[in-house]
């Protein structure tokens, strides 16, 4: 295992006040988020759980600053978010690697955009996610798992204070997914950033998060807020996790399915 470079941890804290949002879909206005208020402490790992299409990903887009909310404010350390910022880095469901850039070029994207040159940190990030030796590979030569690792390295090289994870492991095969979950947790522990992750996978949320927010179907409202007071090294068969799982599935309306 590669030793993680030590970074001064300045995880970002967030406060969301009464967020409303919606989209005009086919001429009719569709509300997506309904009065979301939420405070996230620096260094938390928050999982957003809810039925598919309920608006969780939209919430992430607002936090990333990709679009402004219709109503309400999002504060990062007391300052309103008005656009994207280098301290908040998004990891998307698709790796979104630019096919004309090598792995190295893709990982260096944040540096290139900021007009900065720091090849050492690019190399360190590539090594950190286990892609050493693939620096010069092209995206179409990578497997799904490797591509998502490259995307993770691209996020980490920017030293994010908040990592926004939009279901980044959703399309991986189940074995790769287990490995990546462990890696993600290790990185969060070592780097000390705040993490917000959208997922459909209750088990993934239970394994990684320090807190799980449960959403209703669209328009999304918060219907549950569960702290997971368990040590970071969790076993998938821990009976306490099974209890929490049952609790969450009940909130999601699947009381019989666990």
């Amino acid at each position: 295992m590669v030793t993680t470079p030590t970074h001064p941890a300045h995880p970002l804290g967030l406060a969301l006040h009464h967020i409303d949002h919606g989209y005009a879909i086919g001429g009719t206005d569709t509300p997506v988020l309904d009065d979301i208020s939420l405070t996230i402490a620096p260094g938390e790992f928050v999982a957003l759980l809810g039925p598919s299409g309920c608006g969780k990903s939209t919430l992430l887009r607002l936090i990333a600053g990709l679009e402004p909310p219709r109503a309400g404010t999002i504060l990062a350390e007391g300052t309103p978010i008005t656009g994207p910022g280098p301290d908040r880095i998004v990891m998307f469901q698709d790796p979104t690697l630019y096919p004309w850039r090598t792995v190295r070029g893709n990982v260096a994207l944040g540096h290139d955009i900021a007009g900065r040159k720091d090849p050492a940190s690019v190399d360190a990030a590539i090594e950190l996610v286990g892609l050493k030796g693939f620096e010069r590979a092209w995206p179409h030569q990578l497997s799904g798992g490797m591509a998502q690792r490259a995307a993770l390295a691209r996020a980490l090289v920017n030293d994010p204070r908040l990592l926004i994870l939009d279901e980044p492991l959703g399309k991986l095969d189940s074995l790769t997914r287990l490995t990546m979950q462990t890696e993600l947790q290790r990185l969060w522990r070592d780097r000390g950033f705040t993490a917000i992750m959208v997922t459909h996978d209750v088990e993934e949320a239970l394994l990684l998060a320090t807190r799980i927010i449960v959403f209703s179907p669209r328009p999304a409202r918060i219907i549950g807020d569960l702290p997971i007071d368990l040590p970071p090294h969790r076993h998938r068969d821990d009976p306490r996790l099974l209890d929490l799982r049952k609790n969450i599935l009940t909130q999601l309306g699947h009381s019989a399915d666990w």
Binding site: R61, G65, I89, Y98, P99, W138
Partner: protein
């Protein structure tokens, strides 16, 4: 069988099929002329075309050289001009609104009707033919590249925006490379039709080139030479297209779908 032999066999098969079609057509042609008693000033038999091809090889090569030069210059200038205009239209809404009708007009006005005017303006030399070639390819280049620039996948744009990239950077470092495959398909079309522009320009008024040669041969009833020039033009166009196609495939090696088939 070794990989090399398989590859050689595949290439032979690929060349063999069109060659077979050509031979069959040649045979049909020969049969119609010989059995139908068509006079050779109307349709010369293939063997007399072949004789003309060999006898006038110097003349044909010189003419082909002129036409090729006009075509290649037209391709280069048309690609640079069309590419620059597409980028400008993407970067600025006023440019887009003012120039888009003009781009459409360059396609809507029959360029061939402009040929006499262009010869009048740019003379009997190669300049008027280069301008013809540029006009013929301008629309496919500009519209395909502009379409490519506009259709950057939203996820790619989100990524750049989430890293706070300025619009200029998004255009040059994201939209531009993402649009290169679209530009490449425009270029392939352009390579196939650019010789047409040059030849039409030569028909109207020139002192050399394949179009000029065909025109003179036609008026002298040297139909076999005319056919030979046509054959050279067709071969040149196919080779030009093939060269452009290979060069593009080599430059866009990162495009996953760009497999030769």
């Amino acid at each position: 069988m070794s990989a090399g032999a398989i590859r050689a066999g595949r290439i032979a098969a690929r060349l063999g099929r069109p060659l077979g079609t050509l031979c069959g057509l040649g045979l049909l042609w020969w049969g119609i002329v010989r059995l139908g008693g068509v006079p050779s000033y109307l349709l010369p038999p293939p063997d007399s075309v072949a004789r003309a091809l060999w006898a006038q090889r110097g003349l044909l090569a010189g003419a082909a050289g002129t036409t090729l030069l006009e075509t290649v210059l037209g391709l280069l200038l048309g690609t640079m001009g069309g590419g620059a205009l597409a980028l400008l239209m993407m970067a600025s809404a006023p440019v887009r609104r003012w120039m888009m009708p003009l781009v459409l007009l360059s396609q809507a006005v029959p360029v061939f009707a402009l040929a006499p005017l262009l010869v009048l303006w740019f003379g009997f030399g190669i300049a008027s033919k280069v301008v013809m070639a540029v006009l013929v390819i301008f629309f496919p280049i500009t519209s395909s590249f502009f379409d490519g620039l506009r259709r950057t996948p939203p996820g790619w744009l989100d990524l750049a925006r989430s890293m706070d990239a300025r619009p200029g950077l998004v255009l040059l470092r994201l939209r531009l490379p993402a649009a290169l495959p679209a530009l490449a398909s425009g270029l392939r079309v352009a390579a196939a039709i650019a010789p047409l522009g040059a030849v039409v320009g030569e028909w109207v008024g020139a002192s050399s080139g394949l179009g000029f040669l065909m025109q003179t041969a036609n008026t002298r009833f040297e139909t076999d030479l005319m056919f030979a020039a046509l054959l050279v033009l067709a071969t040149m166009t196919v080779l030009l297209w093939w060269g452009v196609d290979r060069a593009l495939a080599r430059m866009l090696y990162w495009v996953p779908d760009d497999q030769p088939n």
